[in-house]
Amino acid sequence: MRSVVRAALTLALVIAIFLALPGLVRTVRQAADLRRLDLHARRAHLLGPLYESIRTLDRQLPAGEPIALIFRQPADADLGIYANYYLYPRPTKHYFGVEAYQQDPRRPAAIGWIDRETAWEVRLLSEQQLAEEASR
């Protein structure tokens, strides 16, 4: 009985290796390819326009200035939460919709607009551009 279990254990390990090896090789190859790039280029490669837009926005605003992240749809909050990580330690405040932002007396002046139906990015908008987005 023990030898049967050991054979089954060996088979289970072979199956696991068979399942994991291609993915592991793919990941190692990806790492080897990304090695030539600097850190920001690697992130841009992995995250696409979202990361690029966050970096652009971060460079355009003075250090430490708070930013409002406004979501067109509730589902856009996922991108906003993800963006928090790259924006930190810059203070951020989240708003579900333009109205919520406009009604907040303590709203940050800088506006990051997230509408992933249009693009997977955070767009820096002026109040006027925000009003135009809201009226669409």
Binding site: R6, F18, L24, V28, Q30, L34, N84, Y85, T92, H94
Partner: protein, 426 residues
Amino acid sequence: LIPALLTLVWFPLVGAAVSRILGRVPFFLAGVAASGVSLFLLLLSGIPLGWGIILLAACSVLLLLFRPRRREEGYSRRSDVDVLVVVLPVAAMLFAVSIIPQHDYDGTAFWMLKAKAIATEGAVDGPFFRGENTFSPRNQYPLLLPIDVALVMQISGGADDLAVRWLFPLILGSLALEMRRRFRLRYPPAVATLCAGLLVWTPQFALKPEGGAMSAYSDIALAAFIAMAFFELVDGTSSARLGFWTAAMVLTKSEGLPVALLLIVAGVWVFRFRIIAAAVPLIASAAALVVWRSRIEITDEGDLFGRTVSLLPSRIEDLLPALAELSSYAFVFRDWGAFWVITAGAAVVLMVRRQWRPLMLAGLVIIGGALLYSAVSAVSEWDRSELLRVTASRLLMHLAGPALYLIASASGATKVDVSHLDVDAE
């Protein structure tokens, strides 16, 4: 490179110091647990992270210099070529994470953000956790791993995630090597290596972006601490070590507390009155967690534990369907291969052979853990199927240690009686 080397030096150093108090422990895992628990307590007492790190380093060095090494019978330093089955995939993961930046969603948006905040603010109850400067999702999640990550960030002088990614594959590798070492004491070496290899090669551990060793989730750390605590039950020699690991579980993930309680209940059977030595650190870490939560903003998830206890009686009919749904994820071939199939087979073999002790111990933790997780999903505000779709495979990871013990017990005869080891560890 410096943060990677720090990860390799700091945690084993602290773990070695822990071994001077508790006896034989895997240095790396014990270092991860002890650093997280002690820094959490220090931060909670108002000591800033930087000073906490200095204090912890000083205590570790003093312990290593002045407290004699404990007796370590049964500690096999022999390392054969078969260890490559563990070392090679972990080396591949380390290579990959040293180049590819962090990008899995939960790991980045939840866990790494907390680490970055702790490293930046030097506190666990500063503006970030009070919800004053940014939205922190799952703000009340336990902080052991983010504190360990913040520690490496703080010492290395940066807050970049690439610098700290080694920690996660090293936890998996350390768990696998410790399992291999422990199993070699009881079972034939081939069985020990096969079990350790199965752990690191199973895609859910090796590859999955949600919870795998190349993500920044806390599930592998919790699986490691549960496994260590479980092995203390199996050995039955040190309830203090059981307490140490359960305290780390509580501060690693919300699921840690109920599973820790389960292990303590099983520990009453094994340790009798000596279980008090295990209960004290567990109660202390649970109390610390409660105090911390009273100081911070609770964001998007309420008191899961309390909710489950209060609502379960009225939804008891949902428990078994939830358990069946959770269990079905154990047989998703692309994530688990034959891991849980062979675990089930091993349980049957042990039953036929009437080997009740391993069956009872592992069964209590696996079935008890699965029931606890099913209960939480049964009373959740979320759609149950959706909740299990995103969590079930990760929850099953927590139970891998007891499962591999079941497999090893069914695969090999007990080679050495280790029950006499470290009897002075109490």
